[in-house]
Symmetry: C2
């Protein structure tokens, strides 16, 4: 009988706790780039899975929670966003969501590792469908340098990064968030994925604190994400105003967008800002 191989993501300290676990039904792709190791596996339940340095980036089954909540919440807090910058997000899922907003005229993706884009084009057509849209510009390079070089240019900036280790570490500092703030138009909004409040609350609090220092106001929200450790994920919004992103969003556009989404709708938007006591106490 053939031996069954399983993959279990190792969480933080790596030898104590696991994240997603699944049987490896097929190894579709493996590559070592100057930045990281990319693997694409297939599992009968989750479909194709992308790993970067053995951390699950997405599964075909469950990627929609993360991409819906990272993109639509900030995009609906801006009046008619036209120019969107995505830092990271080489799989294309965030581009796909941004393009659902008819008002968006340009989406720049700034991804440091072109090999991620190429792997997504090859194995994840449902995510990479937006790469060839005429509104999309792909920039291969460092997000830190990109935001330094562009001032007051984008209405919405989304940080779709890996965890704060390896190539993404500079994307979680207050220096970077200061530059992101200056890269936004006056009514602009930033949003970043900020890790698991359930299992990495210290990280969440530290990163959120850096964002709060760099913006006029900041808000944390949470949503499920079954392919990430603990299944509960956090996102932080930085604003150049005192707007309340839980209430002050474009409900008419939100209802239109909801028709195109498996997860996002206006009630979900508002509800995501209701925080458990254990998080409120630390912010």
């Amino acid at each position: 009988m053939e031996k069954t191989h399983w993959f279990t993501e190792r969480f933080e300290s790596r030898d104590v706790v696991g994240g997603l676990s699944f049987r490896i039904d097929e190894i579709l792709f493996e590559a070592k780039t100057p930045y990281q190791r990319i693997r694409v596996l297939r599992n009968d339940f989750f479909g194709k899975v992308m790993l970067l340095d053995d951390i699950v980036m997405l599964t075909e089954k469950d990627e929609f929670y993360y991409h819906d909540m990272l993109m639509h919440v900030p995009l609906l807090c801006v009046d008619n966003p036209e120019k969107v910058l995505i830092i990271g997000g080489g799989d294309g899922g965030s581009i796909r969501e941004a393009l659902k907003h008819a008002c968006v005229k340009k989406v720049v993706l700034c991804e440091i590792d072109e090999a991620v884009i190429n792997a997504s084009r090859r194995f994840f057509p449902s995510l990479s469908s937006g790469f060839d849209d005429e509104r999309v510009e792909l920039f291969i390079g460092d997000g830190i340098e990109y935001v330094k070089a562009h001032k007051q240019e984008f209405d919405c900036i989304c940080i779709d990064s890996t965890d704060p280790v390896g190539p993404a570490i500079g994307l979680f500092t207050s220096e970077f968030y200061n530059d992101v703030c200056e890269c936004l138009t006056p009514g602009g909004v930033m949003c970043a994925q900020t890790e698991s409040p359930a299992w990495s609350l210290k990280n969440v609090v530290r990163i959120y604190g850096n964002i709060a220092k760099s913006f006029k106001s900041a808000h944390l929200y949470t949503a499920p994400s079954p392919c990430y450790p603990s299944g509960l994920w956090s996102y932080s919004i930085g604003l150049k105003s005192d707007k309340n992103p839980a209430k002050d969003f474009d409900r008419q556009r939100a209802r239109q967008i909801a028709k195109l989404c498996k997860y996002y709708n206006p009630e979900i938007h508002r509800s995501a800002f209701a925080l458990p006591n254990y998080i409120q106490e630390k912010l």
Copy 2:
């Protein structure tokens, strides 16, 4: 070098997808009862973990999400609940939460397997603290028979069962829910754990449908539960009225209860009823 042993919960089909994974730092207890196999393991990150038939029932670190949301949401939808019935819940976590409501005068726990209660007394003092409270009555026996034998007696009934396999299978049928409905006082409310909408949506829809058939109105809500597969869990409320449990709850008592909880608060209560589109479409 000593070999490291890991535990990975096997989800549903058991050989394709896993739930919680962690290093086994100590095996504290193992027993085979007439109903199931009980194990208590210890992990440096999660603390003590209780397994029934190799399914994770709770971890010390993360049990609060589930017990907060299973108990406080229904208890706050009843005006001054005095008598509470918990079916299953032999670990005691649900009793502990029910006793936080000062208006509650009696809590009956109906657990089929006394060995679960004994294991919790021995290894989980933070969960089993309520067993010796004078308001608590422990009944060792079948929940199905218990509700048949008690009519219009309880203001709130919570079904804190294992998954719909093995000893708990009869706790998910419409026949059982009919008897639960008759066991409630006229203003009474029932709540049941109803599995993961992310990874078991068919189960959720089937069980919720059975509850909706047996009650005047029914509502589904969700909350994170990092120790269960996918990290996203559902609960179904059955009511003998047209009350909206997302809005018609005792906010003053909810604020008091929130002071005693890590997860539950009135905004979390309301927000839990905001459902993703993919769930709404199936209900």
